[in-house]
Each structure stands twice: as C-alpha cells, then as structure tokens.
C-alpha cells in the first residue's frame, strides 16, 4: 500500500518534528492558511505559499462522509512530505460541512473529517503532537450558493500552518 510505503519513507525524517505546544491560539478565521506574518513566495518550496498553492491545503468529501478519496490521499501525502522537511510548522486541520444539515451534527461531521486528515497524516509519519483539529461545522462556507457546485467545495478539511519560529 502506498500509504504504508510513504510512512516508512518518512520515518527517518520524523526527528524534525516540533513538539512544543505553543500557546498561540489558532485564530478563528478558517480561510487563512497560515497564521504567520508572511506567506512567502510560491517559487520558494519551503514557503507557506508553496504549501497552500503548489501542494494544496485542502481535501474534499462526499455528502455526509469523512473517508478520504484517493485524490485526497495523494494530496495529503504531498502535505506530509512538505511537513517532514519543514519541521518548524505545527498544523491545525479545520473540518467543514456544507449547509445541508443541522448545526450540531455538522460540527460533529466536520470533526470527523478533520480527524480523518489528522490520522492519515499521522500514519504518514507526522507526529500527532504537531496536529490539532477543529471543526467549524457549517459556519464558514467558502462558496455561498445553495447547490452541489458550492456544497462540494465546502465539504472540506483545510490544513493550516502555524510557524513556531515566527
């Protein structure tokens, strides 16, 4: 399995893992990918801009589901790879739901999605101590129309970087 192979490949790099639990609260604005001063230049592969735009900071889910699609797993593998070589970052995974559903249920569903990402990244060698999860339920959609074209991008988990050195 690709998942296992990646996990083994990355094991050697785990020593870079940052363990300190910064007191820095992970803001509340789910549309930001980086809680630092500067996204950097996308041409620089160690920059948050590169992580967000070249790799991709989010994966999407089917209705009511929290399991990862093959595309999502590929993208998360790339995220894990980046996090291995950029050990100054902790991450917070934000889980989101579309507006179909009751408020409480969607908070729970978003938590499941964020946790799916956390567990997968962890299986690829990213220490659980570097990963926090939060669910925004249906509170922070990206697209605001009321049909599947918007819902499909709102059902997401976004990996947000937090630079411990900044």
């Amino acid at each position: 399995m690709k998942k296992l192979k990646n996990a083994i490949l990355f094991t050697a790099l785990v020593m870079l893992t940052a363990c300190s639990n910064s007191g820095n609260p992970f803001g509340g604005n789910s549309n930001d990918t980086f809680f630092g001063n500067d996204m950097g230049d996308i041409s620089n592969p160690t920059s948050p801009a590169y992580f967000q735009q070249a790799i991709g900071d989010r994966v999407f889910f089917a209705i009511d589901q929290s399991n990862l699609s093959p595309e999502a797993m590929d993208l998360l593998s790339s995220q894990a790879n980046w996090l291995m070589t950029n050990g100054d970052y902790e991450i917070i995974v934000e889980g989101h739901a579309d507006e179909q559903g009751t408020r409480d249920y969607n908070v729970a569903l978003g938590a499941r999605r964020a946790n799916s990402v956390k567990e997968y990244l962890n299986s690829l060698g990213i220490a659980a101590s570097r990963i926090q999860t939060v669910s925004y339920g249906k509170e922070r959609p990206i697209e605001i129309c009321s049909n599947e074209s918007c819902y499909s991008v709102n059902r997401r988990a976004v990996t947000v970087l937090n630079n411990l050195g900044s």
């Binding site: 609260p25 509340g28 507006e99 009751t102 249920y105 908070v107 509170e139």
Partner: protein
Amino acid sequence: MFRLIFAAFIILNGGALSAAPLRIEITQGVIEPMPFAVPVFIAETPNAVEVARNLTNVVRNDLTGTGLFREIPTSAHVSKITSFSSPVQFSDWQVINADALITGSVSVNNSGKVTVMFRVYDVFSQQELGSGLKFSGNANSWRRIAHKVADEVYSRITGETGYFDSRIVFVSETGGKAQRRKRLALMDYDGANVKYLTDSNSIVMAPRFSPKGDKVLYTSYASGFPQVQILNVGNVRSRPLINQAGTMTFAPRFSPNGNSVLYSLENGGNVDIYRMQLSNGTVKRLTRSPAIETAPSFSPDGKQIVFESDRSGSQQLYIMSANGGEARRISFGSGRYGTPVWSPRGDMIAFTKQSKGRFHIGVMRLDGSEERLLTASFLDEGPTWSPNGRVIVFSRSTQGRNGTSSLYSVDISGRNLKPLITPEGASDPSWSPLAR
C-alpha cells in the same frame, strides 16, 4: 433582569364567582379565534395616559398573536369604558359580538411606580371571569406588567398557563454567509427589549436557558475551538464550562433542576454525550459508540434524555436513561431526524427533520407515534418550546448567495406560522421559562 417584583392583589368584588362558560379548549382541531374587546385602559392619573395606551396595545398583541383570539378594534366599539369601577353594560359588547371583554386602569405615582388593575368578563353570560387583579412595578416594567395581564387572561380563558412574560435568547447575525458575524442576544418573547450578551469577535452558537432563566449555556469559538460556556445573565459574564485541552465541546443543555449540564464532547473525531454536575464538576460519560451522539435534551422529570445519533447509519432520535446505558430508537419515518427537544409537558418531542431535500420542524410522541410536521422550507432547524408547550420557535434560513436566517413561531397544531421580528438576522432560539 428577573428581579422586578410585582405585587398582585385580588380586587374584591361583591359578585359571586361561579364557573364561567367562556373557555377556549386548545386542542388540535381548533379554531375560530375568539373575538374579544380591550378598550384602552383608563388612565387614573394624567401621567399614565401614554403608559395606558402602550400597555393596552401589548395586551392586545399578546392575545391576538396566539391565533386563538381576534381583537374587535376600538373603532367598532359602540360604547366606551369611562370608569374602571362602574358596572359594565354587557349589551353594548354583545352587540359587537365580543365574547370576552377586558377592562383595566393604570396609575403612575410620583416616584414612577406603575399600578395596573384589570378585569375579564364573559360578555354573553354577563359575569366576571375570575376576579380583578392588581399588578404594580417600577416605571420600566410596564411591558412586563402588560405580559402578566395577558398571561392571566390567556390562563382564565384557556385553562392553561400563558407564555407572554418570557424571553428568548438567540444568535444575532450580520454579514454574508462566508463571513457571518454572530453574537448572543436576548429579547422579550415578542421581540421587544433586544440586548446583546457577547461581541461578535468569535463564532457563537446554540444558547440555552437555565430553568430559572438566570444563566445561559452556549458554544463559543473564542479559544479557537468550540467550547461550552456558561453565562450569568445578570452580570453578562461568561466562563468556560469544560477545560479539556484537545477536545471540542458543544450542544449543551441544562437539567430541569439546573444542577447538571448535558453536552457533546469530541475526542479523536468521535462525539459522545456527557453530563456534568455543576456543584463539583463531576463528569459522567453517557454514550460510548463510534457514531455521532449529540443534541441531548432532558425529560422534564430529569430521568431520561432524548438525543440524536447516526449509529444506525443516519441521524435518528433515541431515548435513554439520564445515567446513560441502553437507548431505544424512537424515529422511524423516512428521512433523518435531529435536534430533539423534550416538551415542558413531557408528552412530546420536537425535532428537525430532513427529507427529500427539505427541512421540517415536527413533533412526535415519546414512542415516535403521531409524528406531525409543522413546517417545510429550504432549511428549518432548532425548535424550542414555549413555557406552556403550545408554541414552538425555530430558525429558518433562506437559500442562495443572499441567504439569511430568521426566527419563526408556529403552534404545535401547525397553525399560526409567523416570523418573529429581530433587528438583524437570527438563529438558534431558546425560550426561557415563564418569569416569576
């Protein structure tokens, strides 16, 4: 807030108080609204004229707002009440077909204290319904006095407790869907006296009143994570209820005696229901399944809990002991069910139902029978019961880019659906108990 003290005295009256025939039976099959007349209460002092007019209007609005009563406008009255103490000319009210007549007087003394006296008459049997009552309170309390008058009238005619002297805590909303700003707000049940309880710097959701109305539980993202808070309504201060790092908590609700709190806690992607004893912070975990268990609500006797779970594969409603353990499923219709709330009478569960792309507010018996959908729209959710269990308020969201959320009320018969006017968008209502 709830510290206003009212004095209520029975005004002695020489007449015999026989059981009166004037009565609305609030049952499912109702109703042609009962016609009533409320002439503007007599101002006994010159400074009471405006208060008397405003107070009378609140009484009229309370009663007509129920859908059970229809006001006969002043323009149709053929005679005037000029003195609160004079005998009523029943024929003048019979001729305009008023079943009930309410008369009252208002006086304001030098220190601003408002005193209201009123009587309710059964026009066709030509007798007083109950005896006259007197309420008094400070200058700012005239609205509450009006609600108390209306509650008393409602109670005498229906035989049930009223719900007008009560309040609703809710989430007030501004801004577009993608960056909506939310803050807690409190208002009288009829939308008057809106007061904001939090700022809108972080997301808040689902406030819930304590049984005495003095505290509010809600969920806040102030820490960056959803976390249950407890707010003191008197001094408007909040503190986190649960401090457990690495978890999310939400969907809180008080027990009927106010001594404990149910809530959902997320850990490792799984959400279960917990109960905290407020006196000592002791926590008991009530569910242990890998499914989503949330939205718990106590029965009025505090012995059972209704909640939602997707353990069957979709959201459904379950009832279990307040100590956890085996749960029995009560929802079996097509679609999914969430946000169950036990009625104050104990005999029904209100819920949100999703079916075929529509949302409904509905009620069912405790065994799931007699399911009745009261509303249908793009998105209705989050019912809350009136203190007497006759009316439900909920939030309705409209679809599309400019979609907004607002509050509506509906009788449990499904009648009298109407918006509750709020200054901004509104969601997640929770109705207080009747004030004392």
